[in-house]
């Protein structure tokens, strides 16, 4: 099999013919036997030499030894020694040849050695396999032979031919490798179970045929996988990663991987994690060797620097911390560091790194510190100290900050071996001195006339606000924006961090838990950046797992932590939540009378959202309820909040008539010049997963109506202070009396609700809401006026509320149907709906009951029935 890449031809010499495999095994056996013999000869040679020396010493004394005559003497022992010396040299040569290519480079840390830079034009990919990969590859023949035997037994016939090696045979062989086993362990799967399934199904011709795969392609795909990681050898993990791309979708291996939720991406990510762990370990070994020579004190190797008293007081020597591994291990910003070196060597040398908090600015600085501690940096950074200036220490020193800053900077210049780091340099712009200049102006002026290298960090927003237009800033500083990490890069950074957390907390992270931490924190935790927010969740998870029984960090723990932080039920549906969602209509109907269409629309919308089918870019669900007053629009929202969210605090009710005037939008979103959040902003920040009830929506100002165009489309809202709020987990219910008259007319004419709705859309609603807003709601529900029996039902519900109040006083009261009918007949007003029922009960029934209580005719333990007789209430 051949493949071409540019000028290089790749061949594969590892065919799985039994003869070649046997030859290789025999060769390996003979080599091992030979090595054993040669080692024995080495020992024999040394013993012979010792004997020759001893005999010579006995005969001629010490000069025989000291003058080396025992080496030249013609004797059997000496002869044996020299023969063994020759074989020792051969042994040594074999050892060196075997380990060639694994030697590290002490000094060329920056040089990228691509294994594709080969001198030969033809490369045998088999020779790029490491020993375990070769073993796994060759062992697949054994599994193929076993499979053939099983098939022959099953069909009671012998094929007489050598078995064709299939991908399942290779997989079974790979499952015996330790690294592959640890990959499966990371996703919580036992390799024995996988092997069992593959073995059982590998006999199924329909799922495991040679035409369903391209077996010969596997080594070359493995080569590609290895090259993605700049891995110098093809190891068993690379072979495993290559499998899915060489088999078709119906293959049994695809089915197995799908069943255990192991996608190609996940496979590659975990393999990358294990590979980078090894790299990190090698890097640290190299670092510890090279950093030994970095001076400990303020004085550099070149003896040009001087002690820096001020800088030591108001700064932190990062290279010294790195030398003693006191800085967090940094990984993930190597490419950014290379770009920075290019900028530093090309320009003025001062750099301002733009990146949001938590996106890796500090990681970049720490990586630089480690590199400087081991001198793996360009010449302009060599033999220097990386010192972080503590701005807060300068500002809080109580002395004149201007002179203190200048003195510190002068000291750094004079020392000559300082590279200064200023984190959050925009803070200097805010610190204005008595002279009217900010500390930033002073710094910039200083740098224009002195040679000092400064590396600063800031956020993108602060750069635009404070730095970009600062006088001469961009002449002195070269900006560099941190590259946004991809999801896989964030995952890798999180994985590496988890390996360190595992060692520190004696716990184990499942890979899915790390994925969940990255994905859920991305979705639900706002106001922070990756990878910081994912790592924060993982650190907390590790701390909890440390004290747990099983010490395993699973997806459930991650979901719990995120749910606690955000008050969002981030976990996959819990049993009681599932039950609630499935029976939501039933539960709501106990409190909401009639209005089946509205209850169904809300329940279906919520089920859709919580099952994950809803688009993630819009609010959870949004409804517009139209209808006369007092028919249950607000009651549905309250009932939903009570049943589904369980607590009042998740519901925010806004009376939109309060946002009617020209200042309505400011009142809703807040102002930029104040720190106080408005109710809606505060609520969304605290409870991203909540219910927003907007009553009398038609009364809001047109600006607010336009604002909701964006909210309902994008699920985000920008506050007056410029904060972007995420409403993708918010349920929005807007209620409106718009078109109530048309609805009542339609009911009187006997029209169906659908026809009434069509008429509303075509004739009435346009006067209140723009069509594009109406279209953005998930459902527009028309509420019909309550029927007589529904009003009675509402009355009964209100009477039940009075019953509950009396029960709290120890009185068990019941009401006859006459009472309910009386309330329904007298309290209901078509123009006000069911609203007056509560007031009627209060004014009549509660007044009657209160009198009885005061007359002690009702006391604790009383069981009574209240009836209406001749227009008056009586105890029965």
């Amino acid at each position: 099999m051949k493949a071409k890449s540019g000028k290089i031809s790749f061949v594969f010499g590892g065919n799985l013919e039994p003869e070649r495999v046997s030859r290789e095994r025999l060769k390996a056996f003979l080599e091992n036997t030979l090595l054993l013999m040669l080692w024995s000869l080495l020992v024999l040679g040394l013993l012979s030499l010792a004997m020759a020396g001893y005999l010579g010493f006995k005969a001629w004394g010490m000069p025989y030894i000291t003058e080396g005559k025992f080496l030249l003497e013609s004797s059997t022992y000496t002869f044996v020694f020299w023969i063994s010396a020759l074989t020792d040299l051969y042994l040594w040569a074999k050892y060196v040849e075997k380990n060639a290519g694994t030697q590290d480079s002490d000094l060329n840390g920056l040089e990228e050695k691509s294994w594709q830079q080969v001198k030969e034009e033809t490369v045998d990919v088999y020779e790029l396999f490491d020993k375990p990969a070769k073993k796994a590859w060759n062992n697949s023949l054994k599994f193929a032979q076993k499979r053939q035997q099983d098939l022959e037994k099953l069909f009671n016939e012998k094929t007489g031919q050598a078995p064709k090696i299939l991908a399942t045979d290779l997989l079974l062989s790979l499952l015996e490798n330790g690294n592959v086993a640890s990959l499966f362990y990371r996703i919580g799967v036992n390799v024995k179970d996988v092997a069992e399934v593959v073995k059982n199904y590998s006999l199924l011709a329909g799922k495991n045929r040679a035409d369903m795969e391209n077996f010969a392609q596997i080594p070359f795909s493995a080569l590609q996988e290895a090259s993605k990681l700049h891995n110098k050898a093809i190891d068993p993990l690379m072979l495993l990663c290559a499998l899915p791309s060489c088999i078709n979708d119906e293959h049994i291996i695809q089915a197995v991987f799908l069943n255990i939720n192991l996608s190609q991406e996940k496979l590659e990510n975990i393999a990358s994690w294990l590979f980078h762990l090894k790299l990190l370990s090698d890097d640290l070994k190299l670092f510890s060797r090279l950093s030994k020579f970095k001076p400990d004190s303020d004085i550099n190797t070149g003896l040009t620097s001087v002690p820096t008293i001020f800088l030591d007081r108001y700064g932190q020597d990062l290279t010294r911390l790195a030398k003693y591994a006191r800085l967090p291990v940094a990984l993930g910003r190597a490419n950014d560091l290379k770009e920075m070196f290019k900028i530093a060597t090309a320009g003025t040398g001062n750099i301002v790194v733009k990146g949001d908090v938590g996106s890796g600015r500090t990681t970049l600085i720490n990586e630089l510190a480690y590199k400087m501690a081991s001198e793996q940096v360009p010449v302009i950074y060599q033999d220097k100290r990386l010192v972080k200036l503590e701005i807060s220490a300068i500002l809080g020193s109580g002395q004149k900050t201007e002179s203190l800053l200048v003195q510190t900077l002068k000291e750094a210049v004079f020392s000559g071996n300082i590279i200064l780091v200023i984190e959050d340099i925009h803070e200097l712009a805010k610190a204005v001195t008595a002279s009217g200049l900010s500390l930033l102006d002073i710094l910039v002026n200083f740098l224009q006339s002195h040679e000092l290298t400064v590396i600063a960090t800031t956020s993108v927003e602060d750069y635009t606000e404070h730095l970009r237009d600062a006088p001469n800033f961009e002449q002195v500083f070269n900006p560099y924006e941190l590259r946004h990490l991809s999801r896989n890069e964030i995952l890798l950074a999180a994985c590496i961090r988890c390996s360190l957390l595992e060692a520190h907390n004696d716990c184990l992270f499942k890979y899915q838990a790390i994925e969940q931490a990255v994905d859920l924190s991305d979705i639900y935790i706002r106001g922070q950046n990756q990878p910081q927010k994912a790592i924060a969740v993982l650190v907390e998870a590790a701390a909890r797992a440390k004290h747990a029984l099983h010490k395993i960090v699973s997806e459930t723990l991650i979901q719990e932590i995120i749910s606690e932080k955000t008050h969002i039920p981030a976990q996959t549906l819990k049993e009681d939540e599932t039950e609630k969602l499935l029976h939501l209509e039933e539960l709501m109907s106990k409190r909401v009378i009639g209005q089946r269409a509205a209850v169904t629309a809300v329940a279906e919308g919520l089920r859709r959202a919580r099952s994950g089918l809803a688009s993630g870019a819009r609010p959870l669900a949004s409804f517009l309820f139209l209808g006369p007053t007092g028919v249950g629009k607000t009651e549905i929202a309250r009932t939903l909040a009570d049943i589904y969210f369980g607590e009042d605090r998740f519901l925010l009710r806004l009376d939109m008539s309060e946002y009617h005037g020209p200042d309505g939008i400011t009142k809703l979103l807040g102002r930029s010049d104040t720190d106080n959040d408005t109710p809606i902003v505060r609520h969304i920040k605290n409870y991203p997963f909540c219910l927003l009830l907007l009553d009398e929506f038609e009364k809001a100002s047109p600006e607010i109506t336009n604002l909701f165009l964006q909210i309902l489309e994008d699920g985000r809202l920008t506050s007056g202070r410029g904060e972007v709020l995420d409403l993708t987990h918010t349920l929005i219910i807007a209620t409106s009396n718009a078109g109530s008259t048309d609805i009542q007319d339609g009911i009187r004419q006997g029209l169906s609700i659908d026809r009434i709705k069509t008429r509303l859309f075509n004739q009435t609603l346009n006067k209140f809401f723009p069509p594009e807003l109406l279209n953005r709601f998930d459902a527009v529900v028309v509420f019909s006026p309550l029927t007589q029996s529904e009003i009675e039902h509402v009355s009964l519900l209100q009477l039940q509320a009075l019953q509950k109040e009396l029960l709290q006083k120890g009185v068990k009261a019941s009401f006859t149907i006459n009472v309910a009918r009386d309330v329904a007949e007298n309290a209901y007003d078509p123009s006000l709906g069911a609203r007056p029922i509560r007031r009627y009960i209060q004014d009549h029934l509660e007044a009657f009951v209160a009198t009885l209580l005061l007359q002690k005719k009702l006391k604790r333990g009383s069981i009574v029935t209240i009836d209406l007789v001749d227009g008056e209430y009586r105890l029965v």
Partner: protein, 111 residues
């Protein structure tokens, strides 16, 4: 990637081709590491700068002589390192023929 058929017969060829290249690279790495540990190159780069930023006339003069002394010391240590590792290289180059000569000598002596 290297398919050099290394066995007892081809050992001398390997020894003075691929083996010697590896030995030379080893020597380079070791000596570079030794030079880095003494800081000779770094120190030499700052040869004309006064010690501890002392730019006075007397400081410059003193620095010059002190730097010469330190440089000589560092050069001596570096040189000794080069020699030390060079010896290993010399041993490498000479050990195989020496062993072969001794074996031939032993054979002839016995004959």
């Amino acid at each position: 990637m290297n398919n050099f058929p290394l066995n007892l017969l081809t050992l001398p060829i390997w020894w003075y081709t691929r083996g010697l290249t590896m030995a030379w690279r080893w020597y380079q790495r070791r000596t570079n590491f030794a030079l880095q540990s003494t800081g000779l190159a770094l120190f030499a780069r700052h040869m004309w700068e006064p010690l501890y930023q002392d730019y006075t006339k007397s400081g410059r003069i003193l620095s010059f002589f002190l730097r010469i002394a330190v440089l000589c010391y560092k050069a001596l240590i570096s040189g000794l390192s080069l020699l030390y590792y060079g010896l290993f290289l010399l041993v490498y180059v000479s050990v195989l023929p020496a062993v072969l000569v001794m074996i031939i000598f032993q054979i002839l002596s016995h004959a």
